[in-house]
Amino acid sequence: MANKSVWTDNRFWRRTATWVTGFAALLLIWLTFDTSTQIAMGNDSDLQNRITKRVPSPTVINYKIAYDMNVKRGHEVPVIGGDDGHGNSLFKEKEKFFGRDDWSQKEAKALLHLGKLAQQAKNCMDCHTILGNGAYYAPDLTKAWLDPAWGPNGSMQAMTNKNTKEEAMAEFLQHPDMFPSHIRMMPNLGITAKEAKGLVAFLKHMSSIDTNGFPRNFGKMQGAVHGK
């Protein structure tokens, strides 16, 4: 036993396992602190002071949101309130959300809270993906707010007979079974008018989250197939 190699020693491997696991866990915890700071939700003063947050304030619903190529980062990022030409947010251009562009921090927060609750209470994630996670039975909702289908020339405003994106979305969410969007139709989940408003706020807010360029080329491709 005196000449036994350390490589065949169980005690050596047990200690290695403990050290490696401990080190990996500590590194994860340290990174979690850093990430938690970076993904904490911003507040309205960030938007006023033109500070870009990875997860902006709920009052981002007062602004126009786009998804443009950022020159420095080399991929698309959410652009809030206008683009400076390099894919950075200007935080200037407002956009009415259900007729208003002056939602206070408190009001917007309450709306987002309701929307997030509804998103869970209706099991959205068990058909759709949210930030790419969930089920694959229905489209991804990460940037649904920016989908051209809901825009002024999209099919959904005409189908729901509404004049704005948010009203069209809210109408659809309340009566999805009345709008034959596809053979795979969304069922009626008993979503109320209030909940629908919250859900649309949730979707608009989510489209402003910096997802490192996922999904790529969202809403930019036209004319590739079916002669669109």
Binding site: T35, V55, L114, Q120, Y137, R216
Partner: protein, 477 residues
Amino acid sequence: MENNHLIGIGRESKQLATWYFTFAAIIFGAQLLFGLIAAIQFVEPGFLYGVLDFSIARIIHINALIVWMVSAMFGSVYWLLPDETGIDTIGIKLGKLLFWIFAAAITVVVLVFLFVQVGPANDTTIWFITEGREYIEAPRWADWGIVVVVLGFVSNLFLTGMKGRQTGVITVLMSDMIAFAGIYLAGMFFTDNISVDQYWWWWVIHLWVEATWEVFVGAIAAYGLIKMLGAHRQVVEMWLWIEVTMLFGSGILGLGHHYFWIGTPEYWWEIGALFSALEPLPLVAMFVHVLYDWGKTQGAHDAKGESKAVITNKPAFTWFVLNAFGNFLGAGVWGFFHTLPQVNLYTHGTQFTAAHGHLAFFGAYATILIGMFYLAVQGTNGIKVLKSTKLSIWSTSMITGGMMGMTVALTIAGYVQVLVSRAQMGATWAAYFDGENGVWFAQAMDWRLIMGVVIFIGFILLMIDLLTTGKKSVHER
């Protein structure tokens, strides 16, 4: 099980194990049944529309998956605990009581999922109907119930492990199960911030299935090799520690591959890519280890001039070998396919993930837990050498073949989505359905359903075999 051969030390612990195994098998059946419903809906969207929509079928499909596996894992621990420690499980009466609480709570949760389905957007829904977070939809009250049951289970394990013989297998299980239980707490809160929500949600999902569960499998495989082959404990446990090193060394920070696109900082690209790319390595090691030990033990046996097979439980060992290979293929290869951010940008949220998920859960966990069912059948019937029967061979082949076929079908569906919906069309609503409407996607969904039926028939054969093989005369008693 009238012919109960469970006697002596660990009788009650093993009895409780069979309860957990039985419950697991029933929930396993439910998982497959609701999976079939969801698969039919992909082919025929009108099926049960408005009655039992896809979301509900899928919730039950994936939650039943988690529940049956956790039950079978509990059962496995209660089964091996007396063998390893050499003493009766301490606090087994409490363990038995907790089983009934567990089973009752799960039944209520499933019935509520089935018949209430959704609720209004308020806290009551989160507490009593659904939390709506994939895999851990169980409402908050059930979360606490699960915590209580798991604490009871962990204390059974710890009290017994500390008093009895503390083998390497037991030491690994003790440290692994406490982490397994603790991580669940990370999924028990509500936040308006979807990025924070998913950050912690992945702590539960990833650190379960790509870290603590994998280590659990390593420990069970080690137990199985000693039990079924008579493999040398020192060798087996050395490998186990090496596996723990590699699994936790890669798996814990491999968590980063879920943090590419959920709002989290860019440095997760590098961390996630590096560590998750290493994740297949321990799975290769586990596969090599199982085959190596098998060959070595058989070889030593042959050298003595004995021509008999060393395996004392043929069907269980078959499933353990399938585990070693399936874990490597499903979790390792299929996981590696899409783990680099450059690829994942396009594959994230497509059927590609479903292909990987199906083969990985099956290969890494279903296989070895079915193997444990067979070990329990052998033990409860007092069989010295359990042989394969026609039924066990057919069921193994159908389940495994069906699973491979389904994985290939889903992989093709994933390719269509990646190429058409993502790369070509840019991921919008219209792009999504352009991919789904394609004939390649539709065919893949047809094949997935067919393979699902094959698996389900295989499952029925498996259940018949598990219930009847113990009484057959082919085995050595």
